[in-house]
């Protein structure tokens, strides 16, 4: 059985939590005690169960009736296992939405049929495009609330298609739903005879999980060096990590980056047992023929497929801190296990989420703004472009004084 990770996005009150509650409820994935708890606290004004309360897990969320942070929910059908990230819609909590978006195979962008494409639709679409989310479902919700639903749906669809012309989005599907009534969620209801496509769950069960994973370019970031130093394992020196992309086999020539030293793979082990090869995204331990200096943060790659090693990186940063980003600021850049001090050497332009215009040379970057920038690193780092390889093409910025993660970095 395979596993699909998906998330919901859209503006506040578009019905994200209700949709997830509905999916769980109608696919019989809600358990009796959870229902009991809902019965106790979760009645809507009209007496029906408030399914949104299934995911709004924090006290403040229930009090304010909004989602603040991502909630993860798990369910399965006979076809597939699902991990859902229910992400907040508030602009203020966009960084939490990005947390969910960075690890998802599919994003459902909800649009309130009464409001059509709004700023958050654009923001979430930009994020989906930036983060290269492989599948997008645009769900036009609350379709029960609009007269002449068929033409409303078609017109929203047209607007959205126009919007996406400017982005590199893959596999976009459209669907009209009513999360509240459960129309077109698990089953294809006859409520809208103008829609001939599958129900939402059917799409979720059948989309190809276009493996996000690159199997061509082999990358192995070293996380930890295993050196037992016991009598039995006196000379053992194993590099523990995860193959983040590609395939490695025993006997292959490799290079260690950024140092550039080359050698040969002596053995690959999983669970202490030798294997012939390891592929993404397996964890493994690699031993090398030569005793060279390798530590956490180094990258093992194949000899003929090395990464660019550089001191200057062109990036897009999604800023996630309340303190503003100003040109010249210093941070730590973490890519996998590699951490390097950096300085933001140039802020080139901000991307206006609403108009999609570029504003050149901003003096500062505020929470949730997206900026194209240049970064200078204290030491050379090995990088891929995000488009080619997600795992070695992305990083985070850490504020050394607060230790907080302040930026999502996408390498150009």
């Amino acid at each position: 059985m395979d596993l699909l990770k998906f998330m919901t996005a859209g503006s506040v009150d578009d019905g994200k939590s209700t949709l997830i509650g509905r999916l769980l409820f109608d696919s019989k994935n809600i358990l009796i005690d959870q229902l009991d708890a809902l019965e106790r606290v979760g009645k809507n004004k009209n007496g029906t169960l408030d399914l949104a309360l299934l995911t709004d897990g924090l006290r403040a969320e229930r009090e304010q009736g909004i989602t603040i942070d991502v909630a993860y929910k798990y369910f399965s059908t006979p076809k597939r296992k699902f991990i859902i990230a229910d992400a907040p819609g508030h602009i203020q909590y966009t960084r939490n939405m990005i947390t969910g978006a960075s690890n998802t195979d599919l994003i459902i962008i909800l649009i309130d049929a009464r409001n059509g494409v709004v700023e958050q639709t654009k923001r979430h679409t930009i994020i989906a495009s930036l983060l290269q989310i492989p599948n997008v479902i645009v769900a036009v919700n609350k379709i029960d609330l609009v007269p002449d639903a068929g033409s409303v749906y078609e017109s929203i669809k047209r607007d959205y298609v126009k919007l996406t012309k400017q982005f590199s989005l893959k596999n976009v599907n459209f669907i009209p739903i009513s999360a509240l009534n459960g129309d077109n969620i698990v089953e294809n209801t006859r409520s809208f005879n103008w829609y001939r496509g599958p129900a939402l769950l059917e799409i979720l069960e059948n989309v190809t999980i276009e493996n996000n994973i690159n199997l061509v370019n082999a990358r192995f970031p070293v996380q930890y060096v295993i050196r037992p130093q016991t009598e039995e394992w006196l000379d053992y020196r194993g590099y523990a990590g995860k193959v983040t992309s590609g395939i490695f086999a025993v006997g292959e020539e490799i290079i260690v980056q950024p140092s550039g030293i080359s050698t040969i793979i002596k053995s690959i082990e999983q669970d202490g047992k030798p294997v012939k090869q390891a592929f993404a995204t397996q964890s493994a331990v690699i031993q090398l023929e030569d005793d060279i200096d390798i530590s956490r943060g180094d990258l093992i790659v194949k000899k003929d497929d090395a990464l660019k090693v550089t001191n200057e990186i062109e990036v897009i940063i999604n800023w996630m801190d309340r303190k503003v980003l100003v040109q010249g600021n210093r941070y730590l850049l973490q890519i996998n296990s590699n951490i390097t001090p950096v300085v933001i050497s140039d802020l080139q332009y901000l991307i206006d989420v609403n108009t999609l215009e570029k504003h050149n040379s901003p003096s500062e970057v505020k929470l949730n703004e997206i900026v194209k920038a240049s970064i200078k690193t204290a030491r050379p780092v090995a990088i891929d472009s995000f488009v080619n390889n997600k795992s070695t093409g992305a990083g985070i910025l850490i504020d050394q004084t607060s230790n907080v993660t302040v930026g999502a970095v996408i390498i150009q």
Binding site: L3, A37, A71, K73, Y74, K242, I396, Q400
Partner: protein
């Protein structure tokens, strides 16, 4: 033909191993919280996979409430012996005496809340900067919100409104003095995943997870084992039933479920047919309020 795909259990396993190695790589003094319960046994199994043939780069730590199932404790010790790793045990009893704490009273007086005091004391004693725990997001809805690397302040408090973003598989374990991180490598596993993995890997468990005959009282539809730690009243009827445990916490707050499941396959079948959640069925302590878990976590609970 070779296919380069793995099933979801192997994916979950690889993710957890990656997280454990990040802990070893990023922290100076991590610890793994180990009770002898199924989730912590799975954690230890994953840790062995992550670091063998080396030693585990952290000790196992048990915060013993003194109300544990004896079967779980003896299993804990046996397992530690087998793998030849270090186990540190700290007793809630000692903290109660040292810090002059008041023991809760009542029928099922639970030391669950007091456990936090001992945990914080232990973190301080050994200067642990990261504690690895076996909590899963499917257990409870406050847990469903928590990051894999969850930063806690000096008082162990979780601030759910100010969690760090956690992007891709990049974990930021940098902390300020006094802070520590709780790490949850099996966050994305469900109860069923854990059982399927236990089966696939033939992980041994304490016998109380399997159906056995036991003396119990029934209280508000829950079956509580007769033990010196609970108060038996005159109107309690002592029953003997065939039961098993879905989770193993304190004897005061873990309920048994009536079951004939004697093997792992039986248990998996039971769970597939079950319509109640693990915590809902077996944890008395979460019933208190809608936000019981969130409140405990904010106060330093795991």
């Amino acid at each position: 033909m070779t296919t380069f795909s793995t099933d979801y259990l192997s994916q979950l396993e690889s993710e957890s191993i990656h997280i454990l190695r990040e802990v070893a790589g990023q922290f100076e003094r991590p610890a793994l919280l180990f009770s002898g319960g199924k989730d912590s046994l799975v954690l230890v199994h994953l840790a062995l996979k992550a670091f063998r043939p080396g030693k585990l780069p952290f000790p196992l730590v048990h915060i013993d409430t003194g109300h544990n199932f004896p079967e779980a404790l003896s299993f804990r010790d046996k397992r530690v012996e087998e793998i030849g790793e270090t186990l540190i045990v700290r007793n809630v009893e000692d903290t109660i005496i040292k810090q002059n704490l008041t023991e809760p009273k009542g029928k099922f007086a639970s030391r669950n809340a007091l456990q936090t005091f001992t945990l914080l004391e232990t973190i301080q004693e050994f200067e642990f900067d990261a504690c690895i725990g076996g909590a899963r997001r499917d257990e409870e809805k406050a847990r469903a919100k928590e990051r894999i690397f969850s930063v806690r302040d000096e008082f162990g408090q979780w601030d759910p409104k100010l969690q760090r973003p956690e992007l891709w598989n990049i974990y930021n374990g940098r902390i300020n003095k006094g802070e520590n991180v709780r790490v949850f490598p099996i966050s994305n596993w469900t109860e069923l995943d854990v059982w399927n993995y236990i089966k696939r890997e033939s992980i041994a468990l304490p016998e109380i997870y399997f159906a056995h005959q036991r003396s119990l009282i029934e209280y508000q539809n829950q079956l509580i084992a007769v033990s010196p730690f609970i108060q038996i009243d005159d109107d309690d009827v002592i029953l003997s039933k065939k039961v098993r445990y879905r989770t193993v916490g304190d004897m005061t707050c873990t309920a048994a479920v009536a079951s004939d499941a004697e093997t792992i396959d039986d248990i998996i079948r039971d769970i597939l047919g079950s319509r109640t959640s693990e915590r809902g069925e077996t944890r008395i302590d979460d019933k208190v309020s809608e936000a019981a878990m969130e409140d405990r976590k904010k106060n330093g609970y795991f």
